[in-house]
């Protein structure tokens, strides 16, 4: 079924919307969540929560890219769930958060109130400035929280190439955030 038809089902408050979503995106959403949580049980719960959240938001939202829209919900729910876990139980999101924290100086002091929207805009600008391959690697790592080996398998790149690419992108992102007064 086409995305538009599924969205129409949500808008029509048809329960078939969730069934069709599960058929089309169930596995994708599970893998998105599993990359973040590293837990089957948590992933299943996050995917079910995604359906519920989509059901609640859909009369207002009308996404053009349903897969991406649902993936974002799943990721956010999964990251929240990981945050509630203890450090030892943290999944892929823990490793990704650690990597991102590398670009923040250890004596960093968040005096000014940094707007989430400004940060999001800066990130979008940064991602847009990358070429397609780098962009894909960046999103796979920091949005989908995929491990390096999975990224290599999905992009056809070597391990060291991906690692080097990510390290350079983190450095550039840090520079951009500092330039814009967000770090």
């Amino acid at each position: 079924m086409q995305d538009k038809q599924i969205v129409d089902l949500y808008w029509a408050r048809s329960e078939d919307a969730i069934r069709q979503t599960e058929i089309k995106y169930g596995k994708t959403l599970y893998s998105v969540s599993y990359s973040v949580t590293n837990s089957s049980r948590d992933s299943e719960e996050c995917v079910n929560d995604t359906y519920l959240k989509a059901w609640n938001q859909m009369p207002t939202d009308r996404p053009d890219m349903l897969g991406a829209y649902l993936s974002k919900i799943t990721r956010a729910l999964s990251v929240d769930r990981v945050r509630r876990e203890t450090a030892e139980k943290r999944g892929g999101a823990g490793a990704v958060a650690e990597e991102l924290s590398e670009l923040i100086p250890s004596d960093f002091s968040m005096d000014a109130h940094i707007e989430n929207e400004a940060l999001k805009e800066a990130l979008n600008g940064f991602i847009q400035s990358l070429d397609k391959q780098k962009r894909v690697v960046f999103v796979k790592r920091y949005f989908f929280c995929l491990d390096i080996d999975t990224i290599c398998a999905q992009t056809g790149l070597g391990r060291s190439a991906v690692k080097m690419m990510l390290m350079r992108m983190r450095e550039k992102l840090g520079e951009k955030l500092r330039e814009e007064g967000l770090l």
Binding site: A68, S71, K72, S101, N116, K120, N124, V139, F143, L183
Partner: protein
Amino acid sequence: MTDKEKYTQKLMDAVGGIDDKYVYEAQNYTPKKRMPGYVAAIIAAAASMFLIIGAALPLTFFSLSAMIKSGNAQNDAKDTAPQYQMEQSFSHTDAEKYDSLPQINGAALVWRTAERGYSFVPISESKAETLIASIGEGGEKPAEDDGISVWIRTEKGEYISPELKRSPGNVDCAVFEYSPEIAISDKAARMITDIINERG
């Protein structure tokens, strides 16, 4: 929670809010497929075969026609017997039929037109070397297609082209050096003109 940890959380949340198009792009990304080694090897082998056959066919034609003409020339040699026939031209029919070179010994200036086929005039070895040396002095703009192809034959029998038509490929292309991008240099043009004028 430290400020660093808080900021990391913010960053993680901000990444979660990137445009749908980037999420979609990453989800649907398929890398360019690399050609497996064995496929590349097969293609290389096939290309080599093609080149070998491509080179062998014109050479065979060349040799056969040269042998035939050599035989005919020996029969006719009693009366005429010149070492070289100045500007030996093949008839239109011959050019169409064989489209191959006359048998030439020693250094020569060779040219070919669509109307008259191949012609040549013998030149000295040193003149041939000087002409060949001037090839590299030609400009990089493509030579204009005046319908004439020119070669210099060295004493050793190699054929070098100072100026060629812009058309891709050439008759007996496997035999000749082919540089269609090189326009003839003024020096080479003058020398060729002089050679033809000297011929009268």
